[in-house]
């Protein structure tokens, strides 16, 4: 049994395993196990027992999510499983590794997950820019279909499943699961009101599960090796491994599968090789753009959902962005807010109006044209777009690096105002 289940088949610079190679490496054993005699609810129970939590950023327990889907002969039909492969969070490049590195792992995961909720159709919602991933997934799906893992009466079990690839046309909000469902229906990707939750009323009003690529990729391994094995992979009670990434001015940026609960220090110093020569660490965005800054005092923090939460941020996607001492923190935050302002779907007012306003204030500050009152204005925006004030988590996510950035780098913001220029330029 491996301690790096998600990446064990991935060899850098090599094409992914084809169906035969994947089977030889033990692949599709989870499909055989699930469809060869387990009831759907037993599959869900195994995932529940493993405490697997969603790797898309929110960390919701996957087994609990599945268990909310109506099961049995009286359940509404058809039911759907949707893979969220719309990796668009700035600084996040982990699902790409799994999609390009081991597409059959995802196909196998889809079959098991769809079986657990008795779905008859599954879609992979892939961002449009992931061209190579699309090609490799199409190949893997075709191979799986030809081998009888997809289609009617899979492996003689009586279970039928179709799997289709949907490539998106680019909007960050599609990562929000109800917006993703609208997009999949061919509409503008605005989020839907919850409840009802997609588990009850999702795609075309039918029970639907939306899971992230990394989350799903864990499923076959948990089913074959058991929940206790999965829990044992982790340094903390959160369970499993995690794909962690580092980008920014470090010696070796990259993405690695490591035990859940790996410390910031190990990730940054051991795996990413530390800061580039002559540079100092000033800030860390721990998990994609929409998380609060951490700093040097957090180097020994264990990266998992609960621990990072207690430290006042979120693990998010687990791919951290490093701010060094020769990069302007105001420009850094401005870049993040530019992204969110552009990607606001326009549905609710605080986000549609507030984010572009915030972006303009930051642009002025960065250019040395701001005033001290701007810092108060930004503080107000952080309150206006706090969790609960907007229709979906996009704007509150944007406020995480802004609010924490103003606190942490207050002196840098004020210098821009006092000196009427960017000190880094």
């Amino acid at each position: 049994m491996t301690d790096r289940p998600l990446t064990k088949n991935i060899r850098p610079g090599q094409p992914p395993l084809d169906l035969k190679g994947y089977e030889k490496a033990g692949g599709y054993a989870a499909v055989r196990k699930a469809l060869g005699g387990m009831a759907p609810k037993d599959v869900t129970q195994v995932i529940k027992d493993s405490n697997l939590r969603g790797r898309g950023g929110a960390g919701f327990p996957t087994g609990v999510k599945w268990s909310l889907v109506p099961i049995g002969p009286d359940a509404p039909r058809p039911k759907y499983l949707v893979v969220n492969a719309d990796e668009m969070e700035p600084g996040t490049f982990k699902d790409r590794l799994l999609l390009e590195g081991d597409p059959h792992q995802l196909v196998e995961a889809v079959i098991v997950a769809a079986y657990a909720i008795e779905a008859e159709t599954a879609y992979i919602f892939l961002r449009g820019e992931y061209i190579l991933a699309a090609k490799l997934l199409m190949q893997a799906i075709a191979e799986a279909r030809a081998a009888g893992y997809l289609g009617n009466n899979i492996l003689g079990s009586g279970y039928n499943l179709d799997l289709h690839l949907h490539t998106s046309a680019g909007r960050y909000i599609c990562g929000e699961e109800t917006a993703l469902l609208n997009s999949l229906e061919g509409k503008r990707a605005t989020p839907r009101a919850k409840p009802p939750f997609p588990q009850i009323s999702g795609l075309w009003g039918k029970p639907t599960i939306v899971n992230n690529v990394e989350t799903l990729s864990n499923i076959p391994h948990i089913l074959v090796n058991g929940p206790e094995w999965f829990k044992g992979l982790s340094h903390t009670p959160n369970g499993g491994t995690k794909l962690y990434g580092v980008s920014g001015k470090v010696k070796r940026p990259g993405v690695w599968e490591l035990p859940m609960g790996t410390t910031v220090r190990e990730l940054l110093e051991e795996h990413a090789g530390g800061m580039r020569d002559g540079l100092k660490l000033r800030g860390i965005i721990p998990g994609g753009a929409s998380t609060d800054f951490l700093g040097e005092e957090h180097l020994d923090l264990q990266l998992d959902f609960d621990t990072v939460g207690k430290a006042g941020s979120r693990m998010g996607t687990g791919t951290m962005i490093i701010l060094d001492d020769q990069t302007c923190p105001v420009g850094f935050v401005h870049s993040l807010i530019q992204f969110f302002a552009h990607e606001s779907c326009g549905w609710c007012t605080p986000c549609r109006e507030g984010l572009p306003w915030t972006e303009k204030i930051l642009a002025a500050l960065e250019a040395g044209q701001g005033e001290m009152a701007d810092l108060d204005r930004l503080g107000k925006q952080v309150k206006f777009m706090a969790p609960g004030m907007t229709f979906c988590p996009l704007a509150p996510g944007a406020m995480s690096p802004l609010g924490s950035g103003i606190k942490r780098f207050r002196e840098d913001f004020e210098r821009h105002i006092r000196e009427k220029r960017c000190p880094w330029r």
């Binding site: 700035p90 820019e129 490539t167 503008r188 990069t327």
Partner: protein
């Protein structure tokens, strides 16, 4: 007018979903693949094929970043604008391209060869700064390396 080939491709896509409208985004991408961008007539044609109104199709077309409702050059350069690329120096890359052609983001070179647009995080942050030209991802870029890459796109 949509060609038979386009109609055939759109029909194949529409068959994958419970409702035909679900093929709207792919239909726009199909037209764009053949024609480079999506003109008003095509919006109407797609609407007719998918039992939607032209306004419904246009509301979708104008929502998504990768659908072009204006003509673009022979090659589209999508410069990653994520924070990781900011840290790794996208400003000098953008300035280099701007100075080379005298065009801003969103504009097309005078010879119609390239259109320059910003793109949200391309998900290759460990190799920042990055950009895509058409379907190809290029990474670890410098103003010098980008010039050699551009030569490949006539």
């Amino acid at each position: 007018m949509l060609t038979d080939e386009m109609k055939h491709e759109i029909e194949a896509e529409a068959g994958l979903y419970e409702q035909r409208q679900a093929a709207a985004i792919e239909a726009l991408k199909i037209v764009q693949r053949h024609r480079g961008w999506v003109d008003d007539a095509s919006v109407g044609d797609i609407a007719a094929v998918l039992n939607m109104t032209p306004d419904e199709v246009d509301s979708v077309a104008t929502f998504y970043n990768l659908i072009y409702r204006r003509p673009v050059g022979r090659h589209v350069i999508r410069v990653c604008s994520s924070v990781s690329c900011y840290v790794m120096g996208y400003a000098s890359l953008r300035e280099h391209l701007r100075a080379r052609w005298g065009i801003a983001l969103g504009e097309t070179t005078k010879d119609g060869r390239f259109t320059l647009i910003p793109n949200q995080c391309l998900g290759a942050c460990d190799h920042a700064p990055t950009l895509m030209i058409d379907d190809d991802l290029h990474h670890d870029l410098t103003p010098e390396s980008i010039d050699a890459i551009l030569e490949k796109y006539e």
